[in-house]
């Protein structure tokens, strides 16, 4: 089906559509044919984008890697310290805490936040009328700027008995929760908001993917006497396999880099129970008002990028084998 080198968008398309028809015959390529084929204007069109990418994406990445080998606070001149930054970061007791919290967040988001959009998409695809309305409602949280959403939810999460959520819970007889104010409930509260904010995008993608499931399969399952849950489990999910695999790895990579929710909701508290790896990077870089430790911040960033890269690579190798079976 797909190869590991193709970007996710193509992989999704290939998973949904059958492959294209016969290939065109190739012709000999020389510089002349390149120019005649419009190569020059292609290059001209590419230049602005290349320019922007080099300045705003690639050059900072290269600079980060260089900085991770330096001791620098951007005020005094930088000195090369080799792998000291990496050693210091690995020795930081907060790092263990941050990694555990990040895994906890990613785990919760996976268990609760991953199946939910699938379920909602399946339910929405069964609805006869008003599909457009439901899609719009589902996507609305994604449209709200993330910072606005978080600040709104922070207000909703007010832990006093007349906070918004606690009032609603009171109507059904549940005692007021401490939401963000206690170490046990802080992280689940964050996951709740993060799921609400991101579900819409996934729902739209799944809705599109569900269109590609041949209805005859459902009819065949019905004939065999399958209930709706068995239809979902045995027909829908296997057909959506490619999309699901992609969405899963994208979600894992995304939640591993969670920053906004811990930063705006709790600043890493209470008592470091919501500090994540990216928030730790931020603290290394910006907590010290007199010039942060950019060397350690970039060292941790590099380590995170490498870990996520290895994870993605392993994941694609494994799922490649599964999707071809």
């Amino acid at each position: 089906m797909t190869t590991t080198q193709e970007p996710p968008a193509l992989a999704i398309r290939a998973a949904i559509e059958p492959s294209v028809g016969p290939q065109r015959p190739r012709r000999k390529r020389t510089p002349a044919t390149w120019v005649r084929g419009g190569g020059l204007s292609t290059l001209l069109f590419l230049l602005p984008m290349l320019f922007v990418f080099v300045i705003f994406s690639w050059s900072p990445i290269v600079q980060s890697v260089v900085m991770s080998l330096q001791k620098t606070n951007l005020l005094t001149p930088a000195t090369f310290v080799g792998l000291d930054n990496f050693a210091n970061v690995l020795a930081d007791p907060l790092l263990g805490r941050a990694v555990l919290n990040t895994l906890y967040f990613a785990g919760l988001a996976l268990v609760f936040g991953f199946p939910l959009p699938i379920l909602l998409a399946v339910l929405m695809s069964e609805v006869k009328r008003g599909k457009g309305l439901y899609s719009a409602l589902a996507y609305l949280p994604v449209v709200i700027p993330p910072v606005v959403a978080v600040l709104l939810w922070r207000f909703f999460f007010d832990a006093s008995p007349n906070g918004v959520f606690n009032s609603i819970l009171g109507w059904v007889g549940i005692p007021p929760q401490s939401w963000l104010q206690s170490a046990e409930t802080a992280m689940p509260s964050l996951v709740l908001e993060a799921t609400w904010a991101a579900a819409g995008g996934s729902i739209i993608i799944y809705l599109a993917a569900l269109l590609s499931v041949p209805p005859e399969l459902y009819d065949a399952a019905e004939v065999d006497g399958a209930t709706i849950w068995r239809k979902i489990w045995h027909v829908t999910l296997p057909q959506l396999r490619g999309v699901l695999f992609i969405m899963l790895i994208l979600q894992v990579i995304g939640t591993a880099q969670v920053f906004l929710e811990p930063y705006l909701f709790t600043g890493g508290g209470p008592n470091n129970s919501t500090i994540t790896v990216l928030l730790l990077i931020y603290k290394y870089a910006f907590q010290n008002s007199l010039g942060g430790n950019y060397g350690e911040a970039t060292a941790l960033s590099v380590m995170l990028a490498v870990v996520l890269g290895i994870l993605s690579f392993v994941y694609f190798r494994v799922t490649n084998r599964w999707s071809q079976s």
Binding site: L40, L44, L74, T266, G267, P270, N271, Q287
Partner: protein
């Protein structure tokens, strides 16, 4: 892709991008010296900007060669370092006392000794405060413009609603506890609150420690510091918080409060008492729309051996990258905008009148950066314009001079404050927090931060 039209479009778009980027560079020259000065934090009351414009116009009339451009500015830990490194700070800006020493040692502040001496009031500064902006050779790097002491802010309305006398605020910690309990029982609002994150938790814990006679850090005099977080004062402060939170339940249910959010909650009438800088009234009214009637200020109860009141303040400084001409112009502006209102009757009256006309606070209690007589004189001059309810703050104004001012710890201040944030949060959110263990660990971690270089 072969048509000339498309190639032209490609060329044009490339040019457009180049032109936009070229526009990013600064431009403009009109013969005048352009001076960018910090004004207020983003979101400040527009009337404050009106007052500023009047003062700007007055200054530019007297100094036709200088063009003052006001820029939004607020000293905020995370963004300050980046602005400093990126060179996007205004030419004149303010920094807190705690940052000044390190900045001037790193060459981040312009040497203004000549300008200060020319202005003639170098010897009027409170020597303890001036020492904070001098290097070891005695050169001066900034103008201390404002100092404050910690105070106990209280909501007079909540006091009345709880049956307490708003003119007799608590004078001991036991009274604070009792008042907090009464307020939370009678009104359902938090009787007492304290800041807990973005480094403010450590800041307030240090203030509450000092008020009980403890000190969190000892200056060894040779450039090194010893951390003494596990002292009796800090223990008592944390015990106090624990008792109010878990035994009396008088601290409400929201504990993630920093300077902005605690002021917001206070302005909304959700907090009975909290500790903070004595000059916060200005910000409460300007940035948080507090009703003046509800505000009361008293001194933090001092108990134990050698208690004091944590002080702080800020300094007007000049960026080291400006030219000499700009430095002279900047010194003139600082003198006009920050200093003359303290020294000169006409300037004090003009400043007070301008602020009062735009409904800005005049007369917020501060600690004098110059000597006490000059300060008393100044208050006398602006008496007719004072619109701050100083009679609601008499317990502070009358008693602050009896308290010993103590400076904030100097070694790695903000980082250690951040460490202490977690300790305060732990005590307030974990019923079984072991205060002794937390303090021991914090002391160890803080000492490591101090020793690491």
């Amino acid at each position: 892709m072969k048509s000339p039209g498309k190639a032209a479009l490609a060329g044009f778009s490339a040019l457009a991008i180049a032109a936009t980027l070229a526009g990013c560079s600064a431009g403009g020259s009109s013969g005048k010296i352009e001076l960018r000065v910090g004004t207020f934090p983003a979101g400040a009351d527009p009337a404050a900007y009106e007052a500023f414009e009047k003062q700007e116009a007055d200054f530019e009339d007297a100094n036709p060669g200088i063009d003052v451009i006001g820029e939004e500015y607020e000293w905020k830990g995370p963004t300050f370092a980046v602005q400093l490194a990126g060179g996007s700070l205004p030419d004149v800006f303010t920094v807190p006392f705690t940052e000044a020493k390190t900045l001037l040692e790193n060459g981040q502040l312009a040497d203004v000794t000549a300008q200060v001496e020319e202005l003639g009031y170098a010897d009027k500064f409170n020597p303890v405060i001036l020492e904070g902006v001098q290097d070891k050779d005695g050169k001066i790097y900034g103008f201390p413009r404002q100092a404050y002491a910690m105070g106990l802010h209280y909501n007079r309305e909540l006091f009345t609603a709880a049956g307490l006398d708003p003119d007799k605020p608590p004078t001991t910690w036991d009274e604070v506890r009792a008042a907090a309990k009464t307020i939370s029982e009678k009104t359902g609002k938090a009787g007492f609150a304290t800041m807990t994150f973005n480094n403010t938790g450590g800041w307030q814990l240090t203030a509450q420690t000092v008020a009980r006679g403890g000190r969190t850090q000892v200056d060894n005099g040779d450039g090194t510091y010893t951390e003494t977080i596990d002292n009796e004062g800090t223990k008592a402060a944390l015990e106090f918080l624990r008792e109010l939170r878990w035994e009396d339940n008088s601290m409400g249910s929201n504990f993630l409060l920093d300077w902005g959010t605690i002021n917001q909650e206070f302005a909304a009438g959700n907090i009975g008492m909290y500790t903070g800088g004595s000059d916060v009234y200005t910000a409460l009214v300007r940035d948080f729309s507090t009703e003046p009637d509800i505000y009361g200020l008293t001194v933090i109860p001092n108990e134990g051996d050698d208690p004091g009141t944590l002080g702080g303040g800020d300094i007007a400084v000049i960026s080291p990258t400006v030219s000499d001409e700009e430095k002279d112009a900047a010194a003139k502006w600082i003198d006009y905008y920050y200093m003359q209102r303290l020294l000169n009757e006409k300037a004090a009256k003009f400043d007070a009148k301008t602020l009062a006309d735009s409904d800005q606070a005049v007369g917020t209690p501060v600690l004098p950066v110059l000597d006490a007589e000059t300060e008393a004189q100044r208050v006398g001059w602006i008496e007719e314009y004072i619109n701050v309810p100083r009679d609601q703050m008499t317990s502070f104004i009358d008693n602050i001079s009896t308290q010993k001012p103590v400076g904030e710890p100097k070694g790695k201040t903000q980082e250690i404050y951040a460490l202490l944030d977690a300790v305060v949060q732990a005590v307030l959110t974990d019923k079984n927090a072991d205060i002794d263990a937390l303090l021991e660990q914090a002391n160890k971690d803080a000492q490591e931060i101090l020793d690491a270089e």
